[in-house]
């Protein structure tokens, strides 16, 4: 092997290992963080999420989507906070389905956070004051993993419960397509 091609192989190897290192650290980090100073939970009234909060959420949800602990916490909260009451296990019931490509208000991280925090017409309650911000990000990350938009390595496997759906890690990434709200309201919720 000529030295030049050996150097290139070495560089590739180092880059590969470095890539694996950061990806693994990202996926496996368990940050039981005390709250970020200034995270705004306005106990008095459920003030609508500000633009700054949405931008921050987009960044945090983007990070949580690659973190296995955050997505599995999101899944636990999805059951604890009775989201499954309306959305079932992602297939939809009285609330819209979350596993398919159709997003009434948009499937990107910031919008999903906004939907959960401020609620939507036709029955989606606002949870801004009730659920701490950190958990809102985890829920948003989990909702996106339902549609396969989170990283498959970090998505959770099956539950130790009745098999209601194929595990999130099996979901093949959907191509989100936003349906205009006017049309959406006509559809049976």
């Amino acid at each position: 092997m000529s030295s030049r091609c050996r150097d290139r192989a070495l560089v590739l190897a180092v880059a590969g290992v470095a890539g694996a290192l950061t990806a693994a650290c990202e996926r496996e980090a368990r940050d039981f963080l005390p709250p970020r100073p200034g995270a705004q939970v306005a106990p008095a009234a459920s003030a609508p999420a500000s633009a700054a909060a949405i931008a921050l959420a987009a960044a945090m949800v983007g990070r949580y989507e690659h973190n296995a602990y955050a997505i599995s916490a999101g899944k636990r909260l999805f059951a604890w906070y009775n989201c499954s009451g309306c959305h079932a296990n992602g297939g939809g019931g009285s609330g819209p389905a979350l596993m398919d490509d159709v997003w009434i208000y948009g499937g990107d991280a910031g919008t999903v956070y906004l939907t959960i925090a401020n609620g939507r017409p036709n029955g989606m309650p606002a949870f801004a004051g009730r659920i701490p911000e950190d958990q809102l990000w985890q829920l948003a990350a989990y909702v996106r993993s339902l549609a396969g938009l989170a990283s498959a390595d970090a998505a959770p496997n099956r539950d130790d419960a009745f098999l209601t759906r194929t595990p999130e890690s099996f979901a093949d990434p959907a191509k989100p397509e936003t349906v205009k709200p006017a049309v959406a309201t006509g559809r049976p919720q």
């Binding site: 039981f32 005390p34 709250p35 705004q40 939970v41 106990p43 906070y81 004051g129 009730r130």
Partner: protein, 321 residues
């Protein structure tokens, strides 16, 4: 969470039977150990020394081999007899454990969660049942039959001064019978590794005279007291509107979720977070705001509220005797 938690300080018939068995085993083993080490020491002391070049003696003197064989045979016979004796001691102790009379036993349903204990007293009589967490009160002298179920991973209920441990396995149901013969506070801890905070999943069994127990259980059955001061009223409003109500339940208020410990009488408990932090007003406020600081990995989220809001919530919760 402080309380007696020592296998060698039994406070009930179960732990007493195990204490006697422990003493018997200890004596037998120490005797065997001392004897063997003594024989080895004598052998070492009396055997002549030699160098690597010393010729190995291959001709086995019949007389010496015979004495060695006899001593080895006696050694094996002796240890076998001792093992059989210990075997019977173990069987009898096991029978004593299962012979605990369960006449008018207090029935408790205990469900293990990741990192706290959910207890339901008298589950089979609807009008007398109530829910509590992490701290069990039991009447002295009356047996307690605990039905164990796990909600997530395997846990293990172990109160050393009252008796042996029993695993809580998801999908399976097991029971543990205990009885406290002396009043006192007996501490226990989850004994099967169950995740990040396995270390802080303690529980306390407070054995008290039957009269105190009746007074305690009657108080536990009552719904939460109405808030008296303005600060407590503000505390209740905050508890109902922020994330507390999403997981906790307080009878008599709009908080009715069952995912976390029941707070109806949280002030009657000495510790918060299954032994994570003491139940004092300042620590309670700190626990509400930053539970992760005391118990990293617990499922309780941080709540970033203003200090006076936290004080109001802590005051309200402190009033729930």
């Amino acid at each position: 969470m402080n309380g007696v938690h020592d296998v060698l300080a039994p406070a009930g018939p179960q732990a007493l039977a195990l204490f006697h068995l422990w003493n018997a085993m200890l004596v037998a083993c120490v005797v065997v150990f001392a004897l063997t080490m003594a024989v080895l020491a004598v052998a070492l002391w009396r055997a002549p020394r030699a160098g690597e070049r010393t010729r190995p003696d291959l001709d086995a003197h019949p007389r010496r081999e015979a004495t060695l064989r006899r001593s080895v045979v006696w050694g094996i016979a002796g240890s076998s007899v001792l093992l059989v004796v210990l075997l019977f001691a173990s069987f009898f102790a096991d029978r004593a454990l299962s012979a605990l009379p369960l006449a008018d036993a207090v029935h408790i349903d205990l469900v293990g969660h990741q990192f706290w204990w959910e207890a339901h007293y008298e589950p089979n009589s609807p009008e007398r049942t109530f829910a509590t967490a992490n701290e069990l009160h039991v009447p002295v002298g009356r047996p307690v039959l605990i039905r164990l179920r796990a909600d997530d991973v395997i846990h293990s209920l172990w109160v050393p001064s009252l008796g042996g441990k029993k695993d809580l396995i998801p999908g399976r149901e097991s029971t543990l019978a205990l009885r406290a013969d002396r009043a006192g506070t007996y501490r226990g801890q989850c004994a099967e590794f169950c995740g990040y905070q396995h270390a802080k999943m303690a529980l306390v069994v407070v054995a008290e005279p039957p009269a105190d127990y009746e007074r305690w259980s009657a108080a536990q059955r009552a719904p939460a007291r109405e808030p008296a001061t303005a600060q407590e009223r503000r505390g209740l409003a905050l508890v109902e509107q922020t994330s507390c109500a999403m997981c906790h339940a307080i009878h008599g208020t709009r908080a009715r979720a069952r995912r976390a410990p029941d707070l109806t009488h949280v002030a009657s408990r000495g510790w918060l977070g299954a032994g994570a932090v003491e139940n004092t007003p300042e620590l309670r406020a700190e626990w509400i705001a930053r539970a992760q600081k005391f118990k990293p990995g617990v499922n309780m989220p941080p709540l970033d509220a203003a200090p006076d809001d936290l004080a109001a919530m802590s005051a309200y919760l402190g009033s729930l005797r």
